[in-house]
Amino acid sequence: MREFGYERAFDVSGAVALIGSDPDARFLGGGTNLVDLMKTGVERPALLVDVRELPLDRIELERDGGLRIGATVTNSDLAAHPDVRRHYPALAQAVLAGASGQLRNMATVGGNLLQRTRCGYFTDISRPCNRRSPGSGCPAVGGEHHNHAILGASEHCIATHPSDMAVALAAFDAVISYETADGPGELPIDGFYPPVGDTPHIETTLPPGALITGVTLPPAPVAARSRYRKVRERASFAFAIGSIAGALDVEDGVVREVRLALGAVASMPWRARAAERLLVGGPASAEAFAAAADAELAAAEALPDNGYKVTLMRNLIVAVLTELTEEVSR
């Protein structure tokens, strides 16, 4: 591991000033992803600026019913918070589905959003990888890709974003706030993770040196009836091979509002807008759910070893919508 300096920041402007425009400086949250990647040499920072003492560790219910979540709130505190569990249950479930109790105590909201892909070539510095080392190639396309993307990928990179939390945030139209030396800014989660194209190394649209200060969830009554389902290769403590955050409002058998976001299928949490459009105003029936799933997955492009995800996601969409419909009628 490369040697590095360590500074603790106590206020937002101090944190931003310490990072400055140094491309070799990194913010340190819980360190559960960054320290891991420093051990393997993927990350080689010269300076770490610890953000854990910043006054960004609160969750507040806003006057309009939305929720403001500070960037250094731990994943555990997020999932345990009564307002999250009451108003956005799928968010609590998504966070609880990720990692382990130990890691959730350490991990922060900001770090979770910026965690890097689990593609095995990305984490092995002896292998080429366009995302880690632009232009070097993508061995996953012709190699090990059973847990790689089926939506929105390109020949340059087929990696997935591994976060469970971000899938629920995408379903609920989260807005990410940040601070740079030029002042504060905001980015909707839709657009926060740019399309892969031929620049997989550009992973977010945050300006350089930006400190994430928090995440705001707009009020969404539909979110009170929401669920997160995650499929993985063992019962617990594993990354998703497919996941879904869903919310549904049905009246007299007709879909009034629906939110669907899919995980482990793309380089970003995938908001299933095609499916949502098809569902709204139509019947809450098994046929309609299947048709919506098919519409969303029509654009899927599978490689030899990840085609199972198309079927898996279709089944997950139908299952979660069916469960939510049953919940409504209870």
Binding site: F4, V35, A80, Q102, L103
Partner: protein, 182 residues
């Protein structure tokens, strides 16, 4: 200016203060084992994947292999060496002994530190991924075997002593519940 790559730090471990120089690259696990001779915390994977290195930071369980020592300054660190009350074992330690919650014992310090926190998290009303309804109105379900397995999933045991580990955690939770009432 190149920043300094090492610091003299003071760690608060099991109620005692230890001052030591550390290269910033040192993890808390390595500081405990290699610098302070506190070898109860074990190194299994060094990647956050096995839980053998679990300690409590300000009362919450964490993997010390992904925690930089320099970033742990100012926090109350509890290791397996500090969970007993003098000669009196912690109820979780006692339950692991009573029920054979181990075979080789390598994962055991991490299992015990994790279990101590699991019981507290559950008592504090935290739901888990095994909890059907996470809404606060629904309350938290009892610490069933299914809940224990999910909550303890960050601790692997190569010997596969899981059956008795789950029993030990359940017994310790029961004993502590009774003590709390008494």
């Amino acid at each position: 200016m190149t920043p300094s790559t090492s610091s003299a730090i003071t760690l608060n471990i099991n109620g005692e203060k230890y001052t030591l120089p550390v290269d910033h690259r040192t993890t808390l696990l390595d500081a405990l084992r290699e610098h302070l001779d506190l070898t109860g915390s074990k190194k299994g994977c060094d990647l956050g994947q096995c839980g053998a290195c679990t300690v409590l930071l300000d009362g919450r369980r964490a993997v010390s292999c992904l925690q930089l020592a320099v970033a742990a300054e100012g926090r109350a660190i509890t290791t397996i060496e500090g969970v007993a009350d003098g000669e009196r074992l912690h109820p979780v330690q006692q339950a692991f002994l009573d029920l054979d919650g181990y075979q080789c014992g390598y994962c055991t310090p991490g299992q015990i530190c994790s279990a101590i926190a699991v019981i507290e998290e559950h008592a504090a009303g935290w739901p888990s991924a095994a909890t059907d309804d996470v809404r606060p109105e629904a309350g938290v379900p009892a610490l069933s075997a299914e809940e224990i397995r999910e909550r303890m999933s960050g601790n692997l045991c190569r010997c596969g002593a899981y059956v008795s580990i789950v029993q030990a955690v359940a017994q310790a939770a029961e004993v502590q519940g009774k003590e709390a009432v008494a």
